[in-house]
């Protein structure tokens, strides 16, 4: 007689359908590969959306190629987290690191989950001025689709480093934290 049953296996499964990247996402990625960060400026309220969405959600108006503006590859840390990686299976990080939200000059939206590898953890603070460290041109595959909205710049920018400029005043960041 076989041993009594002591364990039961089962899967919990979540299945997502992820839409293909929109033409605008693809265009944004192509421009990133060329070293350009582009956004759309709302013709009504003037807010700059980066990546471009093709519309302004506040004014509910469409934005198109004629509303395109280039955004700087430098900006300001608005908020950040220090991550202490647990060593679970598949974890590749071993040391503490910083993930920051960055408001690029000329944009009203932020880049999230930016790795601040080029700055000592103790020096990271809200208001810190940083600039992008670009990947070599051949390695810049911009994120597309939902990833572009969440992560911003894909593999085009590998890290961020401090510029040494004076901090951005807090009231300038007030409406741009995340």
């Amino acid at each position: 007689m076989a041993d009594p049953v002591q364990f039961m296996s089962h899967f919990t499964t979540v299945e997502y359908r992820v839409p293909d990247p929109s033409p605008l996402n693809v265009y944004f990625a192509e421009q990133l590969a060329k070293g350009r960060i582009v956004g759309h400026k709302c013709p009504q309220c003037g807010k700059v959306y980066m990546p471009p969405r093709g519309y302004c959600p506040l004014c509910v108006v469409e934005t198109t190629a004629k509303d395109e503006v280039e955004v700087a590859d430098r900006g300001t840390v608005t908020t950040f987290s220090v991550i202490t990686p647990l060593q679970y299976q598949g974890q590749e990080e071993t040391d503490d690191y910083v993930q920051a939200t960055i408001l690029l000059d000329g944009s009203d939206t932020t880049i999230m989950v930016a790795h601040l590898d080029g700055v000592a953890i103790a020096d990271v603070h809200s208001g810190l001025r940083v600039k992008a460290v670009w990947a070599p041109e051949s390695e810049r595959s911009g994120a597309t689709g939902s990833l572009a909205r969440q992560m911003g710049l894909g593999s085009a920018v590998t890290s961020w480093e401090a510029t040494g400029e004076p901090d951005t005043p807090r009231d300038h960041l007030a409406e741009h934290i995340v």
Binding site: V5, Q6, F7, M8, S9, F11, T12
Partner: protein
């Protein structure tokens, strides 16, 4: 067009002595329950009496056929359902049991998914000690 992302969490659960006995019996194509202090036979079995919280240990054999207490018709089965055609979810009280077991009832049409219908277990071709060892219930004559 859309890409599919699948996120899966594999679990391995310890089933304990009572559910373990139930699953071990299923592997042998038998069904067991547990006797409560008031004499009722609970199928599927509980480790503790739902009324008093008392630990339950007396494993009791019950039949592999019984009667539908309630049924709900599924018009379009989901990918994760036990059957790939329309079926009924049924609460089945097996002969010898005082409580009912929820499982799929492969009866072809909602008209046959009636309270009082006689059913029997259709066993899976291979059993392994899992609730899926019961493939489903099917109509039984008489």
């Amino acid at each position: 067009m859309a890409a599919t992302w699948k996120l899966e969490f594999p679990y391995r659960r310890s089933v304990g002595p009572v559910i373990g006995a139930f699953l071990t019996a299923l592997r042998d194509r038998r069904v067991v329950g547990v006797r409560a202090p008031d004499g009722r036979v609970l199928v599927p079995p509980f480790e503790y009496d739902p009324e008093t919280g008392e630990a339950l240990t007396e494993i009791v054999d019950v039949a592999s056929d019984g009667v539908v207490e309630r049924a709900a018709w599924v018009t379009e089965p989901l990918r994760t359902h036990p059957l790939d055609r329309p079926f009924a979810w049924a609460l089945v009280k097996l002969d010898g049991a005082d409580t009912s077991l929820l499982h799929a009832f492969d009866c072809g049409s909602p008209e046959r998914a009636q309270s009082g219908a006689r059913v029997r277990i259709r066993w899976a071709p291979e059993t392994e000690g899992h609730i899926k060892d019961i493939a489903c219930f099917e109509p039984a004559e008489g």
